[in-house]
Amino acid sequence: MSLLPSLITFLGATLEALLVWRLVKGGTWRHYPFFSLFVGYVVSQHIALFVILHLAPREYPSWYWDSGIAHICLRFLLIWEVFRQVFPKTSPVHRMLSRQVTLGAVALITVLTGMLWAFQTYGSFHSVYLAMERSFGFVQAMLVLAILTLARYYQQPVGRNIWGIAVAFGMYSSLTTAASAVTDLVHSAFFPYWYWLSPFSFAAMLAMWTWAVWSYAPNRVATANDMIDPAGDAGRWAENWGRAVSTTRKVMHP
């Protein structure tokens, strides 16, 4: 049992190192800047926490929870990365959906803020972190699922990189939503499981991300053949019509 924390730490550190190596190798990080920024935060957070644990152990809990809250908020970067990669600015679906998606995201964030305020009313356990984890986690999982569903609906091909990032993050967010809610319900009984479940699920997400970005596999970019250019078609039609009219005039008045 005493080996388990060391095993998790070693596994997490190895996976983070592998992930950073794959992102840096071949410049993959340049293609996914928001994802790389989040990974960069995670790595620096863990290095900082490791240093604090050994240099100033008394400060460790406050640093742990504060950096954890920032971590939860920064996960929105991943959602933005998935959205902008699946529906780039040039895509017609982006133009059509951007307003609705923004409205949906604002509505969901409003709901989660309401849910967050309500945490003070819970009888058993008051933890801002757990309240944030479950409400933000739920909204983030819903947003990722919505993007993947829209991509499927519009038959937008999703490359391995973004697919892996989105699905791993969705699984992790939904799992932490359920786990942190259960912890709040039956705190004493579930807390030992949550203590292991949280880092293990995070390590699983890191493993899936490493697999996803192992080689650069972006989404297929729509070619000129896939796009309909109504302005171009109208222009060609007008040109042909003009020629037809001038030919008719020439025939009628030679």
């Binding site: 849910m115 309500a118 819970y122 009888g123 479950r134 409400s135 986690g137 739920f138 999982a141 819903m142 699922l145 993947l148 499927r152 038959q155 091909p157 999703v158 490359g159 391995r160 697919w163 892996g164 699905v167 791993a168 969705g170 699984m171 967010s173 939904s174 799992l175 932490t176 939503t177 359920a178 786990a179 809610a181 259960v182 709040d184 319900l185 899936m208 297929r220 070619t223 053949n225 896939d226």
Partner: protein, 190 residues
Amino acid sequence: MIQILSLVLLGAILFFVFLKIAIQGPSASAPDSSAVLAVRQMVHLDGLSFAGGQRLLDDREFQMLNATAELREVAALYRKERQALALVWISLLLGDVHGLWRFRRFLVRSGVPATLHDEIQILSDALQAMVFLSFLRVIVLTFGPFAFSGAARNAQGMVEKMSNASAHVLDRLPRHGWPEIERNWHKGLA
């Protein structure tokens, strides 16, 4: 309390939804539409171009006729005709599979880059499609056209998968080389 309980439930549901997506795996990138069209134009996929395959094996009209005692004879005739049509359609699909397989071998022989994994994949797809279509033919012959009404989509999907795989390979060639490929292909057929 209800809010936390609902989040436990929603979190669990979402997790299983994502797990299902993860098991399905990333969608294979669709080939370029012009390559798909070019393959269909070169190989003449008669079975795949027939849009009514699903309707052909659908038993709703037969059941409607069969439900009325006076129309039972008509229903039997209808079933027999449908059986003949379904067999013709399955033969056309089998022809498509053979054509696509041959076209794929022709592309590789012509120097289109392909890996061994690609070749094993297409071989496996072709064998699967042929076994499935032969099995479907036996089923239609033995039990009639409506015994496996859901199989039409699977049959078409298998041939479409092979067509897309060929389109992927063709897409690796520069577009200006496609007419020459088409000419050589038809020359080889003649």
